[in-house]
Symmetry: C2
Subunit: 382 residues, 2 copies
Amino acid sequence: MKKGSLRQGSLRFVETEYFTFAHPPYVFELEGGGRLGPVTIAYETYGTLNRDKSNGILILHALTGDAHAAGYHEGDKDPGWWDSMIGPGKAFDTNRYFVICSNVIGGCKGSTGPSSINPETGRPYGLNFPIITIKDMVNAQARLIDYLGIERLLCVAGGSMGGMQVLQWVVSYPERVASAIPIATTATHSPQQIAFNEVGRQAIMADPNWNNGDYYGGPLPVKGLSVARMVGHITYMSDESMNEKFGRRVKNEKKPFKFSPEFEVEGYLQYRGDNFIKRFDPNSYLYITKAIDYFDLSNGVGLHNLLKGIKTKFLIIAFKSDWLYPPYQSQEIARACKRAGVEAIYCELNSNYGHDAFLVEVDEQAHLITHFLNKVAESIKR
Amino acid sequence: MKKGSLRQGSLRFVETEYFTFAHPPYVFELEGGGRLGPVTIAYETYGTLNRDKSNGILILHALTGDAHAAGYHEGDKDPGWWDSMIGPGKAFDTNRYFVICSNVIGGCKGSTGPSSINPETGRPYGLNFPIITIKDMVNAQARLIDYLGIERLLCVAGGSMGGMQVLQWVVSYPERVASAIPIATTATHSPQQIAFNEVGRQAIMADPNWNNGDYYGGPLPVKGLSVARMVGHITYMSDESMNEKFGRRVKNEKKPFKFSPEFEVEGYLQYRGDNFIKRFDPNSYLYITKAIDYFDLSNGVGLHNLLKGIKTKFLIIAFKSDWLYPPYQSQEIARACKRAGVEAIYCELNSNYGHDAFLVEVDEQAHLITHFLNKVAESIKR
């Protein structure tokens, strides 16, 4: 990679680090009753922790994200997944804040997950990996934040599944979170959202190469994972953004009348689906989507009851064209804050990008977040 | 079946009939360049054709529908798929109208399709079946209407893919259609709609039992078809109707933390998916979804230009919560009618049932259709 091709204003070379806890004889207890240990978390940090350790911001990623949120890994052409938002002078300004991004447990990007070696067998866990929840992900992150010596985070922020972790952080560790930015997310996964995830899981499990989760070292369930990813991609885009991006254009002019992908939208989905196996473990897809589906923060008691007395300040962001996590779900969070007397700003942005907007709609989001963090940082100084 | 269990006001025992044309040496020429012959169409009729043959109404079905739209087949527990709308005293009143419902070519319910015997090989067509389009379906239906001796239909009506056939009928045979009722449909299949169909096709083709379409007599691609059907079902329901029907209820009280379906919505989708193989041919699913994806009635020339000078009267119905064929697509049809000077009524109904509304939202639809048909029938008498 030529140095000139680095995006201006981006962090230069960053590296993923690893933190391991729950070494034997200790274990990490999981919400579903399972136990895990040792547990490794992959994470990255950007910027510098200040002397009173009050400038830490934890960034939480979505379903297929990882710890590499910003800057460039040596040799890479593309920066981290939220590089547009994290860096010197950006929304999460690394000149001012110490930004941490941690990969979730259950994942396949360096944190302990189903593709990790099970110390009891010396082979990958596969389906012997215990069921995990969003709460488990957050509890593991809390151990990382302990390790980094941070008592109280200035902010936790993230979109989609990252937003669920944000909400869980506030409810599990209210005194450790000064502010929270849940984006394009929900406090309760709906049946439609469960249904889309279930289709993805069924597609993976229908692939004979999946082999009941025991495929490591053998042929991979490429086709099943590809179908799962295709379903996902449809739900991340809006009807309108698909119209703009693809229309009804076909890959070659002559109407070919055949079953191989011919419309551009088909080719795009297949390309994205087929390539997904290179960067994601099918079993991690099963475990993480299941954790998402189990997410029901209030679980019948009323979200406002859980938030009562909490001092965390909220900035809640939703996108008009997001039909996977529609604005009404963010409005429910905002209403619960209001009812609980928790300080909250709700912003609905007018983007056409659907759910993907939290990744690509930079300007307005950055503006909102910059000002919100300024105020939070000021109020802490006082 | 006890006679008492028949739905009141439904037609008693009806039977499917078969019409075959394009016997050798004749062939049926297809839009994509293929040829087919002989071609059989399965159809049913309800009511009586009047002396001047002016009371014929053609009902057109959706993706997985068939010719059995109303009444009971002997021994069946359930009536035809639109029994709520077709029968004595109902919207399509069989005391007044002669109602015809024809299964599409490419299907698997008695009409010639990929599971039919290819006369050239003596084996099922499989992927040797030619690509078909909505226009081909309509051209075949026109042969059936010829055979039934009907010059001009009082009405053509149908929802979803049935609505596409309605629109194609009007454009291909304007002088043969006095009125048209396209419901929950579009004149141009959008990239999002193509994408959902493509996921279903990829799921079927990913199943090794699909065997390049040559599975007849062997193990069937049950899992692939099941995933395709699950995707379909999600798109037929609304977020709201899923919330009402399933919520986050689990099949047993104790949170089981496992991968087999546990939320009610998962169980429902799997049940519907697994059972689909009993009534639908996977290759027909490929061919018919492809016909739908090719559907672009105006194909760049502007729908209003195609409709100019047409005397057909339109009743266009859409449903607010239908996100698969959203109201804006029906509004586009209504606008094109207006611009072309074609008489059209557009009605957007306030149902929560999503796309399924055209099948289950009976009262308001029936009311609209009854009055519309009354007016059309009157205007013809004059």
